[in-house]
């Protein structure tokens, strides 16, 4: 049972990494990024390819993560440009369709170029045991990577002026303009961050199990679920909801099976949207 819990926490951390980016991008750009899961895939494929060519694993991973960030910036600066000129319902619809189209396009290319590929990172160290429990070292590292990245993100948001500007825009866009904050530039930065965080989620997943290149939309849906439950504009909420849902998912899967676990999560999402649309843990960082 404790193994199940630990698995849940690990999965929860990955979910949190995915969801924080989605939340930040939605909060600042007004775009619900349906291509968010693709960042994970980009990282996975890049790191996998580079390391199979004999490149040092750390360099491969770093390149993969950075590439996801670059992809985020590119999205912001090219594809999504027209969205920011729109407002209200149109802004949301166009953003949804554009990112959905992009996700489908990327999925197709990847499935065509790398059929059946699964990316995973092997750590050549033997299992470690604490208190009589055996840990796979790769899982430990995955957990560490996730925890450190999340802590760094929180530190950045809480303690730097730029981080505070991001939180300020999340709370009040007009107020941010009054302070002389260039909202466009900060938005680009947030796409970079979102891409990187998702890329790190990919790294964590590659360490603990493997990244399935066909799972882009599935990963996006998971990130969506987490961000809705956490409150669509709350970074803290996303982290807490990610951990909680990760644990719930692991425990329920263990007890009653995978399908039912996912269904329960989805029902929770619908319930949250209907009865507490601001999310269960809403509080912007």
């Amino acid at each position: 049972m404790i193994e199940v819990l630990i698995d849940g926490i690990l999965f929860g951390l990955q979910l949190a990494l995915l969801a924080v980016g989605l939340v930040l991008i939605f909060g600042l750009g007004g775009v619900l990024n349906l291509a968010h899961g693709e960042f994970v895939i980009i990282t996975g494929i890049t790191a996998g390819m580079l390391s199979s060519l004999g490149v040092n694993i750390l360099i491969s991973i770093t390149t993969g993560v950075l590439l996801a960030g670059v992809a985020g910036v590119a999205m912001d600066r090219t594809l999504l440009r027209p969205v920011y000129k729109l407002s209200g319902e149109m802004e949301i619809l166009v953003g949804l369709f554009l990112t959905l189209g992009l996700a489908a396009a990327i999925d197709g290319v990847i499935a065509y170029l790398f059929p059946g590929l699964h990316f995973s990172i092997n750590v050549p160290v033997e299992a470690i045991s604490f208190f009589g429990l055996a840990f796979r070292p790769s899982s430990l590292i995955a957990g560490l990577v996730a925890v450190i990245s999340l802590l760094l993100l929180l530190f950045f948001l809480r303690n730097t002026t730029t981080g505070k500007a991001i939180r300020a825009i999340l709370q009040n866009q007009t107020g941010a303009r009054l302070c002389g904050i260039n909202v466009d530039n900060i938005r680009t930065l947030v796409f970079l961050l979102g891409g990187i965080m998702a890329g790190l989620a990919g790294v964590a997943q590659g360490l603990s199990s493997s990244v399935d290149p066909g799972a882009g939309l599935e990963l996006t849906s998971l990130a969506l679920i987490v961000s809705v439950v956490g409150g669509v504009r709350s970074v803290y909420g996303a982290i807490i909801a990610g951990l909680l849902l990760g644990i719930v998912n692991a425990v329920v899967s263990y007890l009653v099976g995978t399908y039912l676990a996912l269904i329960i999560l989805l029902v929770v999402v619908i319930g949250v949207v209907l009865f507490k649309p601001s999310g269960l843990f809403a509080r912007s960082v």
């Binding site: 939180r167 709370q171 002389g180």
Partner: protein, 238 residues
């Protein structure tokens, strides 16, 4: 004295709805100017257009002699313009100090942040006491102080103030106006105000706006509460 702000033949408004028609306004260095008029007259629209939150359709806005019509709001903050809307637009879930820190976001102000913060705290000691409190938990008057203080953190040369008395008890309004008077030794202020008495007490000059047009202007002593103002408010001349 040089004019820090001059607005000429300004027309502005929203989609299909022009609110301002040929408005002319001037603010000189270290001057307090009030725009008064009934609500719906276009006072808020005027300030928003000057700050760049609403595009101006016709006419010219000059700051320090330079045309700024096409400048984005954050650039206007950069050159020394700042705006405190009546909604205050604070960051409710940031602390008082963080709100102030963001007020000094522009490069020019950021280098001088500590000094500015000290000055602002000296000016509003109440805010210093509450610096670690979340802005959303402040009282109405304190929030108004914070909004003004945050604007001051950008080291402005011209402060645009929209109805600082909105939603405040008269005694709080009074203390805020007293504070404003102290400020004018260093910068110019343009206030949109419904509260005619306050405007008369504090302003060097006054413009009366009615239905999107400037209908009168002058020193308070020239205008006083004569039939002109009553006509602007009630449409009757005695």
């Amino acid at each position: 004295m040089e004019a820090i702000l001059s607005v000429e033949r300004l027309q502005a408004g929203y989609r299909g709805l022009n609110i301002l028609w040929d408005v002319d306004i001037e603010v000189k260095e270290r001057e307090v100017v009030s725009v008064i008029g009934p609500n719906g007259a276009g006072k808020t629209t005027l300030l928003k257009a000057i700050f760049g939150l609403i595009e101006s359709k016709e006419g010219e806005i000059k700051f320090n002699g330079v045309r700024i019509n096409d400048l984005k709001p954050h650039k206007r903050v950069d050159i020394g313009l700042t705006y405190v809307p009546s909604e205050r637009e604070l960051f409710p879930e940031l602390t008082v100090e963080e709100n102030l820190e963001l007020g000094a976001y522009t490069k020019r102000a950021r280098n001088n942040k500590d000094n500015l913060l000290e000055q602002v705290f000296e000016f509003f000691p109440r805010l210093k006491e509450r610096k670690d409190q979340l802005a959303g938990t402040l009282s109405g008057g304190e929030q108004q102080m914070l909004a003004i203080a945050r604007a001051l953190m950008s080291a402005p040369r011209l402060l645009l103030l929209d109805e600082p008395s909105t939603g405040l008890a008269p005694i709080v309004t009074l203390s805020i106006y007293e504070k404003l008077k102290e400020l004018t030794s260093e910068l110019s202020i343009l206030i949109a105000e419904q509260n005619v008495h306050q405007a008369f007490a504090i302003s060097d000059r006054i413009y009366i706006l009615e239905n999107g047009r400037t209908v009168a202007s002058g020193k308070p002593s020239e205008l006083s509460e004569d039939s002109l103002i009553k006509s602007a408010y009630f449409g009757v001349s005695e």
